[in-house]
């Protein structure tokens, strides 16, 4: 697996984040997240083939099980159980969102961030792309009103950061990866529980309906 293939995968990941911004159906959003996690798993698989480090293989399996299979299954089950097919509400309308996406992408490729993206100069394009993926995930969290979309935003933020780290050549630290997997697994569990609680009490996943707490 050479660099071109990895860059291709990163491009697909970038497209999934844009898709998450534009998609209206929660089911497709969960599938997009699953695809993202699959790409991350492929990154680690490639790292395993290069270094033959068994812990990385363990990480590959954990990513596969937790992020690619279990988490989207959780979400899909929640969607089916509560008939949450659509998540149309955003704070900004779609064209404005897309314009901001474009601006964020340009900012990430801007000169100011060149020290960041020059960590491994050969990978500069990929690092810029990963950085713009990070910005876009942050936008997703801020922009969306649905609790499920916010969770997907946080999870895709984590995926983007891991992608950035991988392309910066820092993925060799295995304890780090296992820690992240563990964390994200527990996080997904707790976030799903919270979503059920929100649904039970508010009747909707629209977080703008949660406005009881004011000064």
């Amino acid at each position: 697996m050479n660099q071109i293939f990895l860059q291709f995968l990163l491009g697909i990941m970038f497209l999934t984040i844009i898709f998450l911004h534009l998609s209206r159906k929660n089911f497709l959003a969960s599938i997009a997240y699953s695809l993202q996690s699959l790409i991350i798993m492929l990154f680690f698989l490639n790292s395993f083939f290069e270094t033959n480090n068994l812990t990385i293989l363990l990480v590959v399996f954990l990513v596969l099980i937790v992020k690619v299979i279990l988490a989207p299954l959780f979400f899909i089950r929640l969607i089916k159980k509560n008939a949450l097919a659509f998540s149309v509400s955003t704070y900004l309308n779609t064209p404005l969102t897309i314009i901001i996406i474009a601006i964020l992408t340009f900012i990430a490729h801007y000169q100011k961030f060149s020290p960041l993206t020059n960590i491994v100069p050969a990978n500069q394009d990929s690092l810029s792309l990963a950085l713009s993926a990070i910005f876009l995930s942050l936008l997703l969290i801020i922009n969306r009103k649905g609790a499920l979309s916010q969770i997907l935003g946080v999870l895709s933020l984590e995926n983007s950061i891991v992608a950035f780290v991988v392309f910066a050549g820092l993925e060799q630290n295995p304890a780090l990866q296992i820690g992240i997997i563990f964390n994200i697994g527990i996080w997904i569990l707790i976030a799903t529980i919270f979503m059920s609680m929100i649904l039970k009490h508010f009747g909707t996943l629209n977080v703008s309906s949660m406005n009881n707490l004011k000064d």
């Binding site: 071109i4 491009g11 970038f14 497209l15 844009i18 897309i98 474009a102 992408t105 490729h109």
Partner: protein
């Protein structure tokens, strides 16, 4: 040999485009559990129309008579100017992408004028809607071409499709984004879902159909054929410009035949995509269409921004 290739290139567009539309209708019918008309039905429709009488309104001017000819001939000219299955037929006269965009715009212009010419209300609003969408789609259209042009450093289409696939492989992400933007423009310009329903009978939902409502007989045949040609042209552009694989680089029987076959397969994939899209979504209401076109424009802008 070259003469044969040129001959094929010239007649390919008007010959094959009704077949494309026939295939679309057939697959849609199958998906709707109907038997559907035969895939050669559009040919029969054109034949029938060519042999029918025409009725022209008293208020029609020369524009009404001339518009179908202009629109049809423009599609023919463009049909010869874009690469279908070869990449070595350089045509510096009409092979430039900007020329293609604006030639198509001339076609649209006369189409809209023709709709306005007889003074009917439906023609009028069809033309106004069409011009709105055209104006907004132009941004996405130009920018998606611009992306490919920037990657390859030229606006000559034949040079672009001659380029090494590796070039496109390196710029995969911008190409994909530009392709996505171009698909939206394709749907807009060829009056397909979600922009327009080509099979609608309700005048209030028409955009393209409203403009050709007053035509009959031979002129209607030319207009319909021109629409088919436009669809074919756009499909060919989308599959060849962004994924220039399988084009014959040399003139030999085997390469040409392989080129034609691969091209047909690619066109079929495009047709399949349109069919599945049409079967799975509803037409958007008109006020949502500018948003969609703006999205296409920005996607292309992002694609340009990602080019290094």
């Amino acid at each position: 040999m070259i003469i044969i290739i040129w001959a094929i290139q010239i007649i390919l567009t008007p010959l094959v485009s009704p077949l494309c539309v026939g295939v679309i209708n057939k697959i849609k019918a199958r998906l709707q559990n109907r038997k559907g008309a035969s895939i050669f039905q559009p040919y029969r429709d054109l034949w029938k129309l060519l042999h029918k009488d025409e009725i022209i309104s008293r208020d029609a001017s020369w524009i009404f008579r001339v518009a179908p000819l202009i629109v049809f001939s423009i599609t023919l000219v463009i049909g010869t100017s874009i690469p279908f299955f070869t990449s070595f037929l350089t045509n510096t006269l009409t092979g430039d992408m900007l020329l293609i965009v604006y030639a198509l715009a001339i076609g649209t212009f006369f189409l809209a004028l023709g709709g306005l010419d007889v003074g009917s209300a439906f023609g009028g609003f069809g033309s106004s809607r069409e011009m709105t969408l055209s104006a907004l789609a132009e941004g996405g259209f130009i920018f998606s071409f611009l992306t490919v042009a920037l990657i390859n450093g030229t606006t000559n289409i034949f040079t672009i499709v001659n380029a090494d696939i590796f070039v496109h492989g390196r710029y995969l992400l911008p190409t994909l984004l530009a392709f996505g933007g171009f698909l939206v423009v394709l749907l807009a310009e060829t009056a397909r879902f979600p922009f327009d329903n080509p099979a609608t009978h309700l005048e209030l939902t028409m955009i393209h159909e409203a403009m050709i409502l007053e035509y009959s007989g031979k002129k209607l045949a030319l207009m319909e054929w021109a629409t088919f040609n436009k669809l074919f042209i756009f499909l060919a552009l989308s599959v060849n410009l962004f994924f220039p694989i399988g084009l014959a680089h040399t003139a030999g029987i085997i390469t040409i035949s392989a080129g034609i076959i691969i091209f047909m397969i690619k066109i079929f994939l495009g047709v399949l995509f349109i069919t599945l899209l049409e079967s799975s979504m509803a037409k958007f209401r008109f006020f949502r269409l500018p948003d969609l076109l703006l999205i296409s424009f920005i996607l292309n802008a992002i694609a340009i921004g990602l080019i290094r």
